[in-house]
């Protein structure tokens, strides 16, 4: 039998973050392996957002390390981590509201292609930018809405747009912060199908409250409570874990 050591794409070790007396992240160790969807769940206030901020680089950890794509990224800026292939979506959609959906994705394409320090060629006549961006919009099903200002898109469409931007970055990892939030049942279902396929492209760290989606999608689940990971394992194991049931799933399961 082949003994291929699968090296994780993202490896977080002993991460600690304090806000004054509050320890918001308390020695978190977590990894994300190629091809998987790893769901991060936990009650409100467990420190999920703080953890995500540290992974993306908007917050700096107090101690511990974050390795991504084979290098220590703990000291890099948000933009530098993004260029290494860390794609993310936000709990509250983050888009350039005045730009059309197309121009939002074009921004990601231009960032991926390299320099934003090109001063002369108009972007709207840059066929390679437009074509690549349109292809991404098509994948998330937004082709018909390409020319609509992002501010006028519906909630669900903005989620799709964010995913299109992450796709355009050809991210090696997707970090999705509550993608199902605010989606109707129909939207949740189609997004679930989409994410199911997406994992073949790059692994997903999925922060989500929608347990149906989590149980349907996740290969592994980690449970974060008071800044600590109290359990990590396959779906069935987590469902059965007594500590998880008391701490979190009690009212869901």
């Amino acid at each position: 039998m082949d003994k291929v050591m699968v090296e994780p794409v993202l490896q977080i070790s002993n991460l600690v973050k304090n806000f004054g007396a509050l320890r918001a992240t308390d020695g978190v160790t977590l990894d994300l392996r190629p091809g998987e969807i790893h769901a991060l769940i936990g009650p409100n206030g467990a420190g999920k957002s703080t953890l995500i901020h540290q992974i993306c680089g908007t917050l700096r950890q107090d101690s511990g390390s974050i390795r991504f794509a084979g290098q220590d990224v703990g000291a890099l800026t948000v933009a530098e981590r993004a260029r290494l292939g860390l794609g993310r979506t936000f709990q509250v959609s983050s888009i350039a509201p005045e730009f059309s959906a197309l121009r939002n994705v074009m921004l990601a394409v231009q960032a991926k292609e390299g320099s934003s320090f090109r001063f002369f060629k108009p972007v709207m006549r840059d066929k390679s930018l437009i074509d690549t961006a349109m292809a991404m919009l098509e994948r998330v099903g937004l082709t018909a809405r390409a020319r609509v200002p992002a501010a006028e898109l519906s909630h669900g469409e903005r989620r799709q747009l964010e995913i299109a931007m992450a796709l355009a970055l050809r991210s090696r990892t997707f970090l999705l912060d509550e993608p199902m939030a605010g989606m109707g049942p129909e939207g949740s279902k189609s997004l679930t199908r989409f994410l199911d396929g997406l994992r073949r492209e790059a692994p997903i760290l999925l922060v989500e409250h929608d347990m149906d989606a989590v149980f349907a999608l996740a290969d592994r689940i980690s449970v974060l409570v008071y800044g600590r990971i109290i359990a990590t394992g396959p779906v069935e194991e987590i469902r059965r874990d007594p500590a998880v049931r008391t701490a979190y799933l009690g009212d869901h399961a």
Partner: protein, 324 residues
């Protein structure tokens, strides 16, 4: 494509050309000077519009770049006149194009120095810090007696441009007009480019820009420096128009006025600065003729525009701004 906005822009550009031509035919050189003033202020505000309108960087210190451009013209001309060496054996020139290059370069350098520090901050801090740095330049000019200090510096003879009699008002207007159109064209090109896309996106959503892997700071710094350079060029033209440069070009009122021009015209609009400058100079002239207290009414009008008509003149004439 002849949209309503393009039509309004065309009318503005042709209107600015028509006024001095008519004034020249009627022997009214005063209106040529007025139109030249509009062109130069519009150019200065176009520079600021790149930072403020496109990049969302509310610089309250662009008078520094305007004044630096002006002082370059004044100082270089003064040395040329007196023959005293200025730097490295260079004893000045009266050639406008050399002055323009020096003015643009120096404004860009100072813009870089101010931007490097100011852009580490944002919001109110940025506004106040740009204001403070401009004041620093202002007080330097006031307290440095070699070039006139508080009294300013006269340019005895307007600087030269090869093949053009610059002292003829219409000729000088045409020089300024052409540079204005080039400046507006440059603004349009920059705004439509990848750089412009990143700069606009950084205004709309900084986090989003960083998340796709673009450093907002570098984009903004570049935008700020380019903006300073354009405004610096306008300053050099302004000094040659008045044949005089003084610390008032560096004062915070000047910074405020440049912002006012943009807002009166329509923030971020290609021809907003021109519309604003035309409106402003017209106010100044029309109100100034009626009452000594025209600044009071200017304040009142500005207040009403800010509170109730946020799109500016172009917002009224050409509808809402559109982004591709």
């Amino acid at each position: 494509m002849l949209t309503r906005e393009n039509l309004v822009n065309l009318i503005l550009a042709l209107g600015l050309l028509a006024v001095p031509l008519a004034a020249n035919a009627l022997g009214q050189p005063f209106y040529i000077t007025l139109a030249t003033r509009v062109a130069i202020l519009a150019l200065a505000a176009t520079g600021l519009n790149l930072a403020l309108g496109v990049g969302g960087l509310v610089s309250f210190g662009h008078a520094a770049f305007f004044g630096i451009g002006g002082y370059v013209a004044g100082i270089v001309a003064a040395h040329n006149f007196s023959g005293d060496p200025l730097l490295f054996g260079f004893s000045g020139t009266n050639q406008m194009w050399i002055i323009w290059i020096v003015a643009v370069a120096l404004a860009g350098l100072v813009g870089l120095a101010i931007g490097v520090i100011s852009l580490r901050t944002s919001g109110v801090y940025f506004i106040m810090i740009t204001l403070a740095f401009a004041q620093m330049v202002y007080y330097f000019a006031v307290s440095w007696p070699a070039y006139g200090g508080e009294d300013g510096l006269s340019i005895l003879v307007r600087n030269q441009f090869p093949g053009v009699m610059t002292m003829v008002p219409l000729n000088y207007f045409l020089i300024c007009y052409i540079i204005l159109l080039l400046g507006i064209a440059l603004f349009a090109i920059l705004r439509a480019s990848r750089f412009g896309a990143a700069l606009q996106a950084a205004r709309q959503n900084e986090v989003r820009v960083a998340t796709v892997g673009i450093q907002p700071y570098r984009i903004r710094l570049t935008g700020f420096v380019l903006s300073a350079m354009i405004t610096g060029l306008a300053g050099a033209l302004f000094a040659d128009l008045n044949r005089f440069v003084s610390p008032s070009m560096l004062s915070w009122h000047m910074s405020g006025e440049l912002i006012v021009l943009i807002i009166l015209g329509g923030t971020g609009r290609l021809f907003g600065p021109l519309a604003g400058a035309a409106l402003y100079v017209a106010f100044e002239y029309a109100l100034g003729g009626v009452t000594e207290r025209w600044q009071f009414f200017l304040g009142l009008i500005l207040l009403l525009v800010v509170l109730f008509a946020r799109g500016g003149l172009l917002g009224v004439l050409a509808g809402k701004a559109r982004h591709g």
